[in-house]
């Protein structure tokens, strides 16, 4: 099914459908993640891949138009050769791979066992993914927050949400998508019903990351999607009235700083950077609160960034 979807994308010239199919593809892969026991990843992929990415691309498409031109002939041959070579190389590699699902593959025997066996003791949260993400490899996650922040700054620098006066003050000119949706009462009702629970759900995901799947990233994206939904239905201008981009622009920085601050405090307390154990007298408590704090930092950053990017992209089409 995945394969079919992808080939459809390859063939399709109508971008709108391609995007939809891409979203579908993401959704399918998140199901696969689910089957493969990667609940957190599935969650994120559904929210980010199927949700955020798709919406961004749609917003961009609203600006640049939806048709892709028929490809010329010479452009297909070289890519095909490269792709075939790369594919062959990959196939060659698979021949020596440990079979799928084998428990004694090196992946499962070297580093992972400590996470599985001792993270409950050392870090605390039952969700091992959270432990690894936030504590063992907290530095990676810090970098990841940095990536999001960088993308935000980049988009802001290039498109500049809220830096144009027009965003708030100008009357929204007739926009097909927004207009049509505003008139559809059913949609509106459903949306009204949805937005509040989604926001609440986002908060739940945020705090529940310790125990079940979820955490800052997912929560941030979900929170953002609620706002985006609102913006889609009521139009961007009212949404920006609630969350003025000028103010919103501070939040990614604040989130990142919050994350770093936790690490720095740990340093002042005599530990290494991001060594939450040093935060409090009891390393366990330290880990617990440290993880909570950084998850919050990530949540703030991600949510603010996603909303900002969406505003930036859709503002341009006004």
């Amino acid at each position: 099914m995945l394969v079919a979807t992808v080939f459809a994308i390859v063939k399709l010239d109508h971008l709108m459908t391609a995007v939809m199919l891409m979203g579908f593809f993401s959704l399918l892969s998140s199901c696969i993640f689910m089957i493969l026991d990667a609940v957190d990843v599935a969650f994120t992929e559904a929210a980010v891949g199927a949700g955020a990415s798709t919406i961004f691309i749609l917003a961009a498409l609203a600006i640049v138009g939806r048709k892709s031109k028929k490809k010329r002939r010479e452009k297909t041959i070289l890519p095909l050769i490269i792709v075939t070579c790369t594919g062959a190389l990959l196939l060659y590699a698979t021949l020596d791979m440990p079979y799928f699902g084998t428990p004694d593959a090196p992946v499962h025997t070297h580093v992972a066992p400590r996470y599985l066996l001792e993270s409950g003791e050392e870090v605390g949260p039952p969700n091992i993914v959270t432990s690894v993400l936030a504590s063992y490899r907290g530095y990676d996650t810090f970098g990841e927050a940095g990536v999001v922040f960088t993308a935000f700054i980049g988009v802001l620098l290039l498109l500049g949400a809220g830096t144009r006066k027009s965003g708030l003050e100008r009357e929204a000119p007739p926009n097909v998508k927004v207009e049509s949706m505003r008139q559809k009462i059913v949609l509106r009702e459903v949306a009204d019903l949805l937005i509040a629970p989604v926001l609440v759900f986002a908060l739940y995901v945020q705090w529940h990351g310790d125990f079940g799947p979820g955490g800052g990233f997912q929560a941030g994206v979900i929170f953002a999607s609620a706002i985006i939904l609102y913006a889609l239905i009521y139009g961007i201008v009212p949404a920006q009235k609630i969350l003025p981009p000028r103010k919103l622009a501070y939040f990614p920085g604040i989130g990142l700083l919050l994350y770093a601050l936790v690490g720095v405090i740990a340093m002042f307390k005599g530990g290494n950077f991001l060594a939450y154990g040093a935060l409090m007298a009891d390393p366990h408590d330290g880990q617990h609160y440290g993880i909570l704090a950084i998850e919050l930092g990530i949540g703030i950053t991600v949510a603010a960034v996603m909303i900002n990017i969406f505003f930036s992209l859709s503002e341009r089409s006004l």
Binding site: V19, D37, A38, T44, S68, R72, L91, V107, A151, V155
Partner: protein
């Protein structure tokens, strides 16, 4: 062998399809879609690596002892976010490209640039501040 590696093979097909879209498509946004597909397939590959037969999600609960490997999950969480960040930036750039050129087809852009260069050489004027600067003011 076929069963053991089947999963990987599918992933490879997906990956290559994504890569093909990136390289063959002239439409900038479609390139980004391709990039997304390509990356997502790589994610599936990573996750496949971490799966264990009979395992369960790596959440500690009484009664479960076999978990899938959490490390790839963490890596892929990171990678997904990196992916969406790249997508966002790529879109921002293509929107700007559209505003500057009026098109997002690669060959049309190239043609416009070529025209410009020829004109530049013939008139040899100094490049004036671009439209972007005006926008900023």
């Amino acid at each position: 062998m076929i069963v053991g590696l089947f999963n990987y093979w599918i992933v490879i097909v997906l990956m290559m399809a994504g890569l093909y879209i990136v390289m063959s498509s002239g439409h900038l946004v479609k390139k980004i879609i391709g990039l997304n597909v390509f990356q997502t397939s790589v994610f599936i590959f990573f996750i496949s690596m971490g799966a264990v037969d009979g395992g369960t999600a790596p959440i500690l609960k009484d009664g479960f002892t076999v978990f899938s490997n959490p490390l790839p999950h963490v890596l892929i969480l990171t990678a997904i976010v990196v992916g969406v960040a790249t997508t966002a930036l790529g879109l921002a750039i293509s929107v700007r490209v559209f505003e500057a050129y009026g098109t997002v087809e690669e060959d049309e852009i190239l043609a416009i640039d070529r025209d410009n260069r020829e004109r530049e050489i013939s008139v040899s004027t100094v490049v004036t501040e671009s439209s972007q600067n005006e926008r900023d003011q």
